[in-house]
């Protein structure tokens, strides 16, 4: 059975200049209830990998450097 992947705009954006994932911070990844965030190992920045967001905002609120912004998902806003 063949499968295809589809790109979508995701609601969580990360300011690469502020994100301190390269220093070992994983707060946003840890707190997300849906486990949709990962650390992109190539550039040491948090990344939203799955479009499964409740726009609940712990990632944004708990980020020590205010690097994350949660937007309302496009289908909802």
């Amino acid at each position: 059975m063949a499968t295809a992947s589809m790109s979508v705009k995701v609601p969580v954006s990360v300011d690469a200049d502020k994100c301190i994932a390269s220093k070992g911070c994983t707060v946003c990844v840890d707190v997300c209830p849906l486990d949709v965030l990962v650390i992109d190992m190539n550039n040491g920045v948090a990344l939203m990998q799955y479009d499964e967001c409740w726009y609940c905002t712990p990632c944004e609120v708990d980020c020590p450097t205010h690097a994350l912004t949660v937007d309302i998902p496009y289908l909802v806003k």
């Binding site: 209830p33 486990d35 712990p58 949660v70 309302i72 289908l75």
Partner: protein
């Protein structure tokens, strides 16, 4: 085939670290620190469950001077159309105030007046039970601190898939899978407490966004499915959860916050049409009629209030429970000062915290399986809300301690563990197939098409047929890694809940609870159905229902009160 799972052993295993779960674990450990208590959580206990971002108020505080347990039991008996185990409601009501005091002592902030008394407000039809929490955003942090202090073994990012039952029909442990590595573990436990919350990913939100649900979408109905497969009875499943929400945003507006400050639910003309904003099936039926009739859509109206009041409302609503409400309104250019807020009816869910669907429990939080307890939104104690989750979490924790103090653990059949670990890993072993996203979308779209009230017999029968076809399709479910394996396991839970919703709704051949169980083919309430409907798996593995009588009332509601929830629509001239 080699061992594909590891094994662990604890005394008490609490499944779900949202509201009831942490309370159960903390109180069990406080009572007997020698017991090994594990709290296992699909997300991270720090920010999991319905109160991930805190809560804006208590909906059912029974505080001396404002309400009595007897009054509360009567109110909920009427609000749930007579189908309650009053003993279970009374156990909540009698413990409500001590729990508020406990939480207050722990540092949870409730609104108090200038003399330091709790500032209780009126929202319900009859009594006064609402206690605002304008600074309620820290609840999870407080619980987390206590979990650590009491040395509860917190195990995050595991999805429990099944509860195991031993030869003596007692609970014996659970199977769980690590959502980041797909490693499987069998956790042997003397007692298991299910606190997994609502089945919130059942209907499809009208936005079409799978995770834009009313409930925290982590709550996929896991506990309903694990109780069912373990052989426990569930009850009131046909009493769906349907809520009045901000359209598309799908969060509460929230009438409990705005009501005491002068806000109300209005029709397109800005007129009130219901007497009371307390969420009940009867209220939702009037909401539905207004929405579908010529006076729709329905709005929350606060734009007539003073600037100071509106700022207070915004401060509460935009910092608690669902704080992204503010940015949603901003994106649409909605200002509470000028505009009414468009409301809509939510997708269906199962949730005893708001309505009545849950695992059957008595006043000791015991399910029908010895050693297995349930608390919170997943346990059938109608209209229990957050405070009910805390109270029943405590009851379950204390009862589990008593249960396992003098007993040895039950053995689990090895064959069960092997079979279950094979079931879990199957989607990972395929190279391609139907994705969890596709399967979930289809099931939830079918739930909307065939189960959303008004309920129609023929449609629900067709729905069951479609569900069984999808069940066959799930043989081809594919997961490309641990994250999608988690979603694949949830798809099975969602499908189980959809089937339960259809089977129990078809069984009850009457209408009850307003919109929650409005059957077009049986539009009237019928006293032959003044009974609980229990749903369970029979000896041949079939999903079946049976009636059990409502236990004799401790407090008989008086004749005038019984009709109160039937008369929610405001009487206007053209109706007289």
């Amino acid at each position: 085939m080699g061992m594909e799972y590891s094994e662990r052993e604890v005394d008490i295993l609490v499944v779900g670290g949202g509201t009831a779960g942490p309370m159960a674990a903390i109180r069990a450990k406080e009572t007997n620190p020698r017991l090994n208590v594990m709290l296992i959580e699909k997300a991270n206990v720090k920010r999991s469950g319905a109160i991930s971002m805190g809560m804006d108020g208590l909906n059912n505080a029974v505080i001396p001077g404002h309400a009595t347990p007897e009054q509360y039991v009567r109110e909920i008996t009427i609000a749930n159309d007579g189908i309650v185990n009053q003993q279970a409601i009374l156990a909540y009501a009698s413990n409500s105030f001590q729990m508020i005091q406990r939480l207050d002592k722990w540092g949870v902030k409730f609104e108090k007046d200038e003399t330091g008394e709790f500032a209780v407000k009126k929202v319900h039809h009859l009594g006064n039970y609402v206690l605002p929490m304008p600074e309620g955003h820290n609840v999870k942090k407080i619980l987390y601190r206590l979990l650590k202090k009491n040395r509860v073994d917190v195990t995050n990012r595991y999805k429990v898939t099944r509860v195991a039952v031993g030869k003596n029909h007692r609970v014996s442990g659970v199977m769980a899978v690590d959502t980041r590595t797909a490693e499987i573990v069998f956790i042997k436990a003397k007692s298991v407490i299910i606190c997994t919350g609502a089945a919130g990913r059942l209907g499809l939100p009208s936005s079409g966004y799978l995770f834009g649900t009313y409930e925290n979408p982590t709550n996929a109905g896991d506990g309903y499915a694990m109780a069912y497969h373990a052989g426990a009875e569930l009850s009131g499943i046909e009493c769906f959860q349907i809520n009045p929400l901000i359209k598309d945003y799908n969060g509460p507006a929230c009438a409990y916050v705005t009501g005491p400050l002068g806000g109300y639910t209005a029709n397109a003309h800005g007129e009130r049409f219901i007497e009371c904003d307390y969420w009940s099936g009867q209220m939702m039926l009037e909401f539905f009629r207004e929405l579908e009739g010529g006076n729709g859509p329905v709005f929350l109206k606060v734009n007539h209030l003073a600037e100071e009041t509106i700022s207070t409302i915004e401060n509460i609503l935009h910092t608690n429970e669902r704080p992204s409400r503010g940015r949603f309104h901003k994106g649409r250019g909605t200002n509470y000062r000028d505009d009414m807020i468009e409301m809509h009816i939510s997708e269906i869910g199962l949730c005893s915290g708001h309505s009545a669907s849950g695992i059957w429990v008595n006043e000791r939080a015991e399910t029908t399986i010895p050693g297995l307890y349930a608390a919170g939104d997943v346990a059938c104690v109608p209209h229990n809300y957050m405070l009910g989750a805390f109270v029943y979490g405590e009851i379950a924790g204390l009862e589990a301690v008593k249960y396992c103090e003098d007993m040895r653990g039950e053995e689990t059949d090895k064959e069960f563990m092997v079979r279950e670990s094979e079931r879990i890993l199957r989607p990972l072993k395929r190279k391609s197939g139907i994705t969890p996203y596709q399967a979930e979308y289809k099931i939830r779209r079918l739930v909307n098409d065939y189960l959303q009230p008004p309920k129609v017999t023929r449609k629900m029968e067709l729905g069951l047929r479609r569900f069984s076809e999808v069940r066959d399709d799930l043989e081809g479910l594919w997961a490309d890694g641990p994250h999608n394996l988690l979603r694949a396991m949830e798809v099975h839970d969602i499908l189980d809940c959809a089937e339960m919703a259809a089977v129990s709704s078809l069984y009850r051949t009457e209408s009850r609870w307003g919109l929650y169980h409005y059957r077009v083919d049986y539009p009237e309430k019928d006293d032959d159905w003044l009974c609980h409907v229990q749903l369970y798996k029979d000896g041949e593995g079939r999903m079946v229902c049976k009636k059990i009588p409502v236990e004799p009332y401790i407090f008989e509601p008086d004749a005038g009160e019984i009709q109160a929830y039937e008369r929610l629509r405001i009487v206007t001239k053209d109706m007289v």
